[in-house]
């Protein structure tokens, strides 16, 4: 068994910030795919 990794407060904060940006990026991608779909439907392209 390996030792469990305990993050320092600074590392925990850095991880939280990284996760925030990751969540934002995924959300933007989902919205982008939605917008592309709508634009294509408007144009009548499958």
């Amino acid at each position: 068994m390996s030792e469990p990794i305990i993050l320092t407060p600074e590392e925990a904060r850095a991880r939280k910030r990284r996760n925030f940006w990751l969540a934002l990026a995924i959300s933007v991608f989902v919205l982008l795919v939605f917008a592309i779909t709508i634009a294509k439907m408007k144009a009548g392209v499958g």
């Binding site: 320092t8 600074e10 590392e11 904060r13 850095a14 991880r15 910030r17 990284r18 925030f20 940006w21 991608f29 982008l32 795919v33 917008a35 592309i36 779909t37 709508i38 634009a39 294509k40 408007k42 144009a43």
Partner: protein, 303 residues
Amino acid sequence: MVDVGITETRAAAASDYFALLKPRVMSLVVFTGLVGYVCAPGQGDAVLGFAAILAIAIAAGASGALNMWFDSDIDAIMTRTRARPIPSGRVAREDALMLGLTLSALSVVTMQLAAGPLAAGLLAFTIFFYAVVYTMWLKRATPQNIVIGGLAGALPPAIAWAAKTGSLSLDAWLLVAIIFVWTPPHFWALSLLQKGQYEAARVPMLPVTHGAKATRQHIFAYTLLLAPLATAPIFTGLGGAIYAISSLAGGAAFLFLAARVLASRAGEGDKAQDRRAGILFAFSIFYLFVLFAALLVDHGLAR
């Protein structure tokens, strides 16, 4: 990995991952891509256009991350690149690789959704060409590295063109050709200033393999080709009056500065002589920006 010990000193911030995407290169690629999109015939949908340009930007970022993953050994030696996230120990190599691969897939998928197979295929080819053909192979193998590798940086206007029209025309390839021929004098001017660093990192740049004089001659030869080539859009109808003035005046200035470098001893250790190469390098960026901005203005006015 070696990185583990170092990363403990400072946890990676989101900005470190952003730095992996080479944001400055990204901005130039976005700009030339945007110009390609605007110049391409047809109306084009704003949302699909935005998605296509975003896909190009993400692909450029992905290529940058893959380049930094593979080149971290070289980056650690050269002072210009020593502070990058991997050699400075802020981001692990594996993380850069994963980021690069993920963003590559994401960008190609987005392009396929927004613009179809031609643009998506070209985008995938560009990432492959930069990350594999240039970074992994040419860069360490031949002084022609940046000549051939320059194709990756030259393709974005054609990708954007294909995204809008679904096809490619002579004008699209003309934009590619201009960036392609512009790349060698641009990079060689910089490499004249950093000869020692490339030597230390064992990168076979032209000044290292063939000397400063041969490099100055190559810079001038490519500029002789570039200046007239950049006027071609005037004759195909791609460029208007503003482009005509910009390409003629810019080409003349580029030729003058390249001739000054040719007549100098730049790259031979004399700081005053090196300045001429430094000026040419800075001007080359300005020149490309002005050419593409002129196209943007010409096409904006034509609407």
